[in-house]
């Protein structure tokens, strides 16, 4: 981080053509130190932006999701220099362009000693396997909207009627309603089945990152403004406790017919 600071201040020092925006990906690695870098640079900081525009006077505006993706905010930096992290997947990939490569020598950062204060001891897998979510053809996911540990069965019943694996949003796992290996999303499994049925899932960015590549997405949610509907191919605005059992009954009736 100190090396980045040295590099950026050298680049921006006094030169009118110097950079005024530092963009980093919003990964678990860079989003950890990016705000510290902003403080060190005296820069403004905006996290997980999904788009950027220039206004008539050349001023920058960043757009980002707030309140669990239920609303969007347009944010204006008030400093000349701004550090922003970019939401993964927010911008389509472009072919890399040839750009002149420059190598900077930044020397040994003055704060290298301080790194001893934080030492990496190792890495480990977060949870046990057992559920084959990434390989599943169909997934039915229980969101916090199912209501509680005893109500997860509405999702499990629909999953078995569809011959699908059972997924979970993070709060369902955090609350202990289902084990961690069921979790879909940025900190769980990234999946892309043929059919993804989201029951009582609001559609946060972290959840969408894990499933928006699915071929057919169905959302059942009683809130017509839930962000999950923005990626759903089929949406039912209703109480999942009415619709999911009805679906299960119909599928079972077909199977036995």
């Amino acid at each position: 981080m100190e090396a980045l600071r040295v590099l950026i201040t050298r680049e921006s020092g006094g030169d009118p053509a110097a950079p005024t925006v530092v963009l980093l990906p919003h990964t678990y690695q860079s989003a950890e130190y990016a705000p510290r870098l902003a403080v060190r640079l005296g820069a403004a900081y905006v996290a997980s932006v999904s788009s950027a525009t220039l206004d008539a006077c050349g001023g920058l505006r960043f757009s980002r999701a707030i309140l669990q993706a239920r609303l969007r905010a347009e944010v204006r930096p008030k400093r000349r220099l701004v550090v922003a992290t970019v939401q993964i997947g927010a911008f389509g990939g472009h072919e890399p362009v040839e750009s002149p490569e420059r190598v900077f020598e930044v020397g040994r950062p003055a704060d290298v000693e301080r790194h001893r204060e934080r030492e990496m001891l190792g890495r480990e897998a977060a949870g046990a396997g057992g559920v084959d979510l990434p390989g599943a053809e169909r997934i039915v996911t229980a969101g916090r909207g199912v209501g509680g540990p005893d109500e997860v069965s509405v999702a499990a019943d629909l999953a078995s009627a569809l011959d699908a694996e059972l997924g979970a949003s993070r709060p369902v796992v955090d609350n202990g309603w289902l084990p961690r290996e069921h979790q879909v999303g940025s900190s769980g499994h990234i999946v892309a089945p043929n059919l993804y049925v989201a029951l009582g899932v609001s559609g946060s960015i972290q959840h969408l990152m894990g499933m928006s590549g699915s071929r057919v997405i169905v959302a059942i949610n009683r809130d017509p403004e839930a962000p999950i509907f923005s990626v759903a191919h089929y949406g039912i605005v209703a109480d999942l406790h009415d619709v999911a059992p009805a679906l299960t009954r119909l599928l079972e009736a077909r199977r036995s017919a």
Binding site: V39, V75, R79, S186, N194, V216, E225, H233
Partner: protein, 268 residues
């Protein structure tokens, strides 16, 4: 030993959200305010650490909760006291309000430094703005090590360092050791926050809640004056991908209609 816990009061995620007439913020006239969910986990983790010290025969660390915000924030602090914190500090001064993560982090860092906390816990990100920036700003200003998305915390027996498990993408964790003092941003799922008991709620009324001014910080660096950003507008997310919406039908009719679509998509 003293553990500081920073909590933020946010609109309940189940509240009905309306955009204010100014178009720059949400209408806060009719909102239910709660402690942000990860911050509750941070407080729970502090309580667990304190209890672990006691069961090791050590002195119980003092737990001090901090919150920056207007008068309504007192309710969040009282709740934290009811859950088991010993003292509360409310950064209520008018000059501290209206900031962003940079300004709020600076104000909180000054208050935390004033209390000489050995360990500072916060939530990994707030349920409202979700920038995950304030704890990192606090760590930078205090000049201490920091870890984000913390899923386990263990104090060493000399209280010189903490062993921390931090989440990475895709089901991997990183194990770290941080020297104290340190700032840890706690991720949801690390624990299950307890509920306040009636006794706790009654005791909370008598626990000290101190109002903190902005002495010791440059007024130009906190509050609206110190913010590096400004919210220009708040809008509903762009309309959906144009999917088929089934609304208002009976459950059976909706289920029939959906299955007909799924049959056509050949995904059954």
């Amino acid at each position: 030993m003293r553990i500081g816990v920073c909590i933020k009061q946010v609109p309940d995620t189940d509240s009905h959200l309306r955009i204010a007439d100014s178009g720059r913020e949400i209408d806060d006239s009719d909102l239910n305010w709660v402690i942000s969910s990860c911050d509750l986990c941070a407080l729970e983790e502090a309580l667990v650490l304190a209890e672990a010290e006691v069961s090791r025969g050590e002195e119980r660390p003092e737990l001090v909760v901090f919150s920056l915000g207007p008068a309504r924030v007192e309710e969040a602090l009282r709740k934290a006291l009811a859950l088991g914190a010993d003292r509360a500090v409310h950064l209520a001064d008018e000059a501290l309000q209206g900031g962003d993560a940079l300004a709020d982090g600076r104000a909180l860092a000054a208050a935390l430094a004033g209390e000489n906390c050995d360990l500072v816990l916060t939530g990994a990100q707030s349920d409202d703005l979700g920038q995950a920036a304030t704890p990192a700003v606090i760590a930078e200003i205090l000049g201490v090590p920091y870890a984000w998305l913390v899923m386990a915390v263990e104090l060493d027996s000399h209280k010189q360092s903490v062993r921390v498990v931090r989440e990475l993408e895709g089901g991997m964790n990183e194990v770290l050791r941080l020297d104290l003092p340190a700032v840890l941003a706690i991720q949801a799922g690390i624990n299950k926050p307890r509920f306040a008991s009636l006794r706790g709620t009654l005791q909370a009324r008598r626990k000290p809640l101190q109002l903190e001014g902005c002495s010791g910080v440059d007024a130009g660096l906190v509050g609206a004056a110190g913010a590096g950003t400004e919210t220009e507008s708040v809008t509903l997310p762009p309309a959906g991908a144009g999917g088929v919406v089934i609304e208002g039908a009976s459950a059976e009719a909706a289920a029939e209609e959906l299955l007909a679509h799924l049959e056509r998509e050949a995904v059954l």
